[in-house]
Amino acid sequence: MSMRDLAREALRSLEANRGRSLLTILGIVIGIAAVIAMTSLIGGVRNSLVSGMGLNAARTIFISCAEPLDEDDLNDLARRIPDYEMIEGTYDSYTQVQVDNEMISVGITGSNPQFLEMTGMHSKVSEGRIYTEEEATSGARVALISRAGVEALFGTGTSSAVGETLKLNNKAYTIIGVIDDGITGTGYCNAYIPSKALLKDFSDGWHYFSQVTGLAREGVDIDALQEETKTQLAKVKRIDDEDIEDNVYVYSLKSSIDQFNTFMMSFQVMIGSVAGISLLVGGIGIMNMMLTNVTERIREIGVRRALGASRRDITLQFLAESSALCIAGGIIGTIVGYLIAWGLAFGITALGIDLSEVTGSTSAAFTPAIEPAAIAIAVGISVFIGVVFGYYPARRAAKLDPVECLRYQ
């Protein structure tokens, strides 16, 4: 019998027993729903964690030193450690802008465009653009400002601040982009301008970085790189070995991501065992129904055998039925699981539980993420259960003697 014939017959027979079929697959539905709800919730939390920290969070290393660091120091450090894809320094400054009768605080960060890309800032630009390489090299007076800054400077109703002029230290800066970092209503403004512009207008000759951030190459061992960075930075700044721990600080987000993963792992094990047990019970339910099914249809089996069905045809027929049952369970379970995930996400947001505590995300709301792989796995598990628990009843049906079957009343 062809696959299409098998599928058609399996569906027909399940339809004939719709009520019983639905009850039987309940265990599978619960098991798969648990798996899908869990993976899409964790996926959602992880997404919001990653987007909060930027895509490169796991590879990002923060470097600071008691001795001030400048451009030359970073070039020296980068030459010594090839495991860095880039090391970027940023400058911080601060000024105030008068709007009507109010003074608005503006925190200014001077950086290269590469820094904005490395930290994922560029992906949060909701209007306009980040500055170009040319603007960075020439020290053009262009600025990106935060969403809260737009509200503070231009009022909450402002549709677009791009193109407006902002006077910082009496220098006219053109706003080229708005960064939506999810924070609103703070009353102050964050501005990002090219490093050259900051050094020109705000530094008074001070040319040391406020913060240094490195991005490790893909696949590099972060822990080892942190140690290497300490050692090499000490050499660059000629710091004695015994003073390293007090003067050089290197840390990364990897440890907090590791912590999150460990936390999620124990959660996963818990839900996973619940799902496993309900799938097992569901599978036994399937086997039970299939055995009943075989007994009820002994005569049909005899007729099919008389019409030319081989033992293999009978086995496949009943396997197709149990698989179709389980696949139906898997599909319903996937839908139910996804709905549960949405319900939970909604509940968490409604209850005002701030996930940013857990995730370090700047945004409190999150959406469950359903991965195609999760659906594929759910259906895969369903087929597996259908075949495993359907095999014994199917073999039993196939081994029946056709003569006995035809005589069966």
Partner: protein, 235 residues
């Protein structure tokens, strides 16, 4: 069914068949040294009282069972020595069954029931439909019944669908086990008329019954009693 020069060769040729069942109660010797032949295009009735071994003989003729000893040549092929899978293939291609209780599958439509044997020999679906319609025409079932479920039909109609199902794979023999046993005499006659009609088209039919009036419809009667054959009259 034809290779050249096969006209002399019988469709069914069984020689010295014994069938012995083993059970905890001991050995039951059901068939004793049975030999007979059926020629192409013959309509043969096997008659015997219950317990005579005619069902066992029919199961062997239908390749549902194999003899304990002896040979059974179906169109020259010794089916007594075939494996289970090979027997299934012989049933699928060379044998059409008609049962006393019709044995149609109740959830399926008339057309699906008739097409079923062809699914086991992987005939494309379009061709199955054509052949099923052809077979249903041969038993004169009204066209508007093809989509009905079989449990919506009358007994006589069900048996005609069953005969169409037996015909659809163009078998070497049609084996009918008490085909009129569950029908009143009028519908029973209609079914027997269908067999006559098929015989006229050259089909080979073996009918098993305990009813001598039904057996009288056949060209030749083979009587079986206590597992032994008594070759009967030929019209």
């Amino acid at each position: 069914m034809g290779e050249a020069g096969s006209t002399a060769r019988p469709i069914i040729d069984i020689r010295h068949i014994h069938r012995i069942f083993e059970s905890e109660a001991g050995l039951a010797h059901i068939l004793h040294d049975i030999s007979f032949t059926v020629q192409q295009g013959e309509f043969v009735a096997i008659i015997g009282p219950s317990g005579s071994g005619k069902s066992t003989l029919m199961n062997i003729l239908g390749c549902l069972d194999t003899p304990t000893s002896g040979t059974y040549l179906l169109e020259g092929l010794d089916v007594a020595k075939l494996t289970d899978d090979e027997l299934a293939e012989v049933r699928a291609t060379r044998i059409g069954f008609v049962f006393q209780s019709f044995n149609l599958l109740p959830r399926m439509s008339v057309l699906d029931n008739v097409m079923l044997p062809l699914a086991y020999i992987d005939v494309p679906r379009r061709e199955r439909e054509m052949r099923a319609v052809h077979a249903l025409r041969a038993v004169s079932l009204p066209l508007d019944h093809y989509d009905h479920r079989t449990n919506e039909l009358s007994g006589g109609q069900m048996q005609r669908v069953a005969i169409a199902r037996a015909l659809v794979n163009d078998p070497a023999i049609i084996l009918a086990d008490e085909p009129t046993g569950n029908l009143d005499s009028t519908t029973g006659h209609q079914v027997l008329d269908t067999f006559h009609h098929l015989k006229d088209q050259g089909k080979t039919i073996v009918l098993i019954t305990h009813d001598s009036s039904v057996a009288a419809e056949a060209d030749r009667i083979v009587t079986i009693r206590d597992g032994r054959i008594f070759e009967g009259s030929t019209k």
